[in-house]
């Protein structure tokens, strides 16, 4: 068992030798962000992709791309459906990832069965794409309970609200697996703002020191609520932080699903084969307000938003797959129908009333109820009984 804790040879040194570059050059991100398909849907030539020695990524297969595109369309539909449900008052709050769906989909699709995902509140689409029933994902925003699904069912942590804390949970899951000799990879998500928290630092450092297969995936959407990246970090890029932990970092166009799949899949593969962590920063944009409770016009110009419409991940992917002949009219219709099905199931589910037994409040605080909570449960039960009998 102790064998698994030590890697015989440092993978970073090995890689830098292989590619004839310095370890620093291997760890620092490539000169540009990795992009494979430009906003118009054109596949870029290798020399235009921002890559370099040690930073090269194979184009994913066509079936992978078509499947990913379907998830992308469904994700977009769910985002917009949820926003509509909020407007209709069926849901209290929704942090939409409209505009970031390529990141969301790639984050889930790069993982194998049994790999874990640790998402944030904004990562509904990633969670769904990993298999969780959208209705269960929504329970938290609907106010039913603080978590709507069983994390073990699809190996997905509960969407985390306290920023960056989940990165450490990801590290722990990977560590336990590694100690048992399992080759589980864990992908942990956070936002650009979240990288400023101390837990970000501690998580990356722990993962690097214990050589754990964790892919840290930062969706840099330019804002933490109202605070722009320039007030969050002075680094050349967030991916530049990796070298400070002795891990490799990469940045990628977060609206290019092809590049995302390529970089994240290689990151997951490296994490698994070398048992090492990696940091991937995707540059994307949150097209809507932080949540429905936010007013984005207070802190950003519409012109900026408009610019990003041209970079939309869904239209870009559609154009690319259409041009490549992967996506035809029939497939497009099938996918649209699938998205509609998901949306309508979501609507139906959200329109149905949920009953929650208030006494459940006392049932999960501990695995075994304390005498104090038994007393308090009785107190509430008696109160509810009195209310029922109208006293």
């Amino acid at each position: 068992m102790s064998q698994t804790v030590e890697t015989p040879e440092d993978p970073i040194l090995r890689a830098s030798q292989t590619f004839g570059i310095t370890p620093e050059q291997y760890m620092l991100p490539a000169r540009g962000e990795i992009r494979m398909v430009d906003p118009s849907g054109r596949l870029l030539a290798p020399e235009e992709q921002g890559t370099g020695p040690g930073h090269e990524y194979p184009l994913p297969a066509r079936d992978v791309l078509l499947d990913a595109y379907e998830k992308l369309v469904v994700g977009r539909r769910v985002n917009d459906q949820n926003s509509a449900l909020v407007r209709q008052g069926r849901m209290a709050v929704y942090p939409s990832s409209h505009g970031q769906e390529a990141c969301q989909v790639a984050a889930a699709l790069c993982l194998e069965e049994g790999d874990w995902l640790f998402p944030t509140y904004r990562d509904t689409v990633a969670v769904m794409t990993k298999g969780v029933d959208p209705l269960q994902v929504m329970a938290i925003f609907r106010g039913e309970w603080h978590g709507g699904y069983d994390p073990y069912e699809h190996c997905v942590g509960i969407q985390s609200t306290p920023l960056t804390t989940q990165l450490l949970h990801a590290v722990g899951v990977a560590h336990a697996a590694k100690l048992r000799g399992e080759d589980t990879v864990v992908l942990a998500m956070c936002g650009d703002g979240a990288t400023s928290e101390g837990d970000f630092h501690e998580a990356l450092n722990f993962a690097a020191v214990f050589k754990l297969p964790v892919v840290f995936f930062v969706q840099n959407n330019g804002y933490a609520i109202s605070v722009p990246l320039s007030q969050q970090s002075a680094a050349p890029s967030l991916a530049h932080k990796a070298v400070g932990y002795g891990m490799a970092g990469e940045r990628v166009d977060g609206n290019d699903l092809v590049a995302l799949l390529a970089t994240l899949r290689r990151a997951v593969d490296l994490a698994r084969s070398e048992s090492e962590p990696l940091l991937v920063e995707a540059h994307t944009y949150r097209m809507q307000a932080h949540t429905n409770a936010d007013d984005a016009t207070r802190y950003r110009d519409d012109a900026e938003v408009q610019e990003w419409i041209a970079k939309d991940p869904v239209t870009r992917m559609r154009a690319y797959l259409g041009a490549e002949g992967v996506l035809d009219e029939a497939a497009e219709q099938r996918i649209a129908a699938a998205a509609e099905d998901v949306a309508s199931a979501l609507r139906d589910g959200m329109n149905a009333d949920v009953e929650i037994d208030p006494l459940e409040l006392f049932r999960h605080v501990y695995t075994e109820q304390t005498p104090q909570l038994a007393e308090q449960e009785q107190f509430l039960a008696a109160e509810l009984a009195r209310e029922e009998t109208g006293q």
Binding site: A92, V93, Y121, I140, F141, R142, G143, E144, W145, H146, T161, P162, L163, G193, A194, S196, E197, G198, D199, A224, I225, S226, V227, Q231, Q232, S233, A293, D294, R298, Y299, V354, I356, P358, L361, F362, V365, T370, Q372, L373, Q376, L380, E383, L384
Partner: protein, 349 residues
């Protein structure tokens, strides 16, 4: 949403346009920034956005980015930087976006903000105000509704204030900023939009020309009564007042004391009321175990034991994590629950 209780006894002119609790806080910040160059306001989203609750709205625009500014997203950083700025002669007012998001700053608060003055035998003063929107009743998701006052009230070296009225929102925040000691300033979120006919300009004058007699650290009798005393603070004060109003209709006269300051604690006002009524219910939203409510019970029985006709009762949150929105109504101290507790005070004895 809880409705606003009657305006403070201080006899306002009836024609005054109502101000909200949030406006009172915002104006207090603006007036403090104007009054003292050393005051700086910072935190997450407090600048351009004006705060997620708009408590800092317009401050950056009016006072510039050097006086009210956004920080990177890191609460320990915010609190720790405040320590240094206060050491270097400023008066930082920092915002923790929500109660549970102050926890990352706990070491800076407990090990430095609370202890630096003592550590340096008084050489270093840390006039820091930590504003924390707290408690529930707004249908917030997890981590947005904690009543975390006990953690701070238990930590020597911190003052802990929590206003319950629009007037106090203004006056107590000014007092907190002017305090040479660090103050954890708990703002009951559910009261942000409550209104009262308060003239904020007049309050400013009143505060800036106040008599040396201090209100800081004092409780107030929010409603006079004779049969029993309700001790409440922050978000529970309106609930206690509503309970008292209902009780009055049923012929029972309840006194409501608004504690206002948890540290220091106003034993005098509390004991005076308890000695008169002989019966007490403490109302607070936080889980009861090892809470501020527990402290109040302990103090009252220590100091007024022989005046008590019945045990002091607590109506608090349950000892469970704050519930999801659809269940919070079962958690929150309610008028009925308070009245039940009052009924329990052994009236037949």
């Amino acid at each position: 949403m809880s409705t606003l209780h009657a305006p403070a006894p201080a006899g306002e002119a009836p024609a005054v346009k109502p101000a909200t609790f949030a406006q009172a806080l915002n104006t207090a910040l603006a007036d403090a920034l104007a009054a003292d160059d050393g005051v700086v306001v910072f935190g997450e989203d407090v600048g351009t956005l004006g705060g997620v609750f708009r408590i800092t709205d317009g401050l950056t625009q009016r006072f510039g980015r050097t006086r009210c500014f956004d920080t990177p997203l890191a609460e320990s950083g915010i609190a720790g930087m405040a320590v240094g700025m206060a050491m270097n002669r400023m008066r930082p007012v920092i915002e923790m976006q929500f109660d549970a998001f102050a926890y990352p700053a706990f070491e800076q608060v407990a090990s430095h903000i609370a202890k630096m003055h003592n550590r340096t035998r008084g050489a270093v003063r840390l006039p820091i105000v930590i504003r924390i929107p707290y408690a529930g009743g707004i249908g917030g998701v997890e981590h947005h509704c904690d009543s975390s006052e006990a953690y701070y009230a238990h930590t020597p070296g911190l003052k802990v204030f929590t206003p319950a009225t629009v007037e106090d929102a203004y006056l107590m925040l000014r007092e907190a900023i002017d305090s040479d000691d660090p103050v954890v300033f708990f703002e009951p979120k559910k009261l942000y939009w409550s209104k009262a006919p308060v003239d904020l300009a007049e309050l400013k004058d009143r505060y800036e020309n106040r008599s040396p007699e201090r209100r800081e650290g004092r409780a107030v009798v929010a409603r006079a009564g004779e049969d029993a005393t309700l001790l409440a603070y922050g978000p529970s004060v309106p609930t206690a007042l509503a309970a008292a109003a209902t009780a009055a209709a049923e012929g029972r006269s309840l006194e409501v004391v608004d504690l206002r300051s948890l540290v220091p604690f106003d034993d005098e006002t509390v004991a005076a009321s308890v000695r008169r009524t002989g019966r007490v219910v403490v109302v607070a939203e936080a889980p009861g175990f090892a809470s501020v409510a527990a402290e109040i019970v302990a103090r009252v029985q220590e100091r007024c034991f022989h005046s008590l006709a019945a045990p002091v009762r607590r109506v608090t949150g349950f000892d469970i994590p704050y519930p999801a929105p659809k269940l919070e109504k079962h958690y929150l101290p309610s008028v009925d629950r308070i009245l039940d507790a009052v009924d329990d005070l052994q009236w037949e004895d």
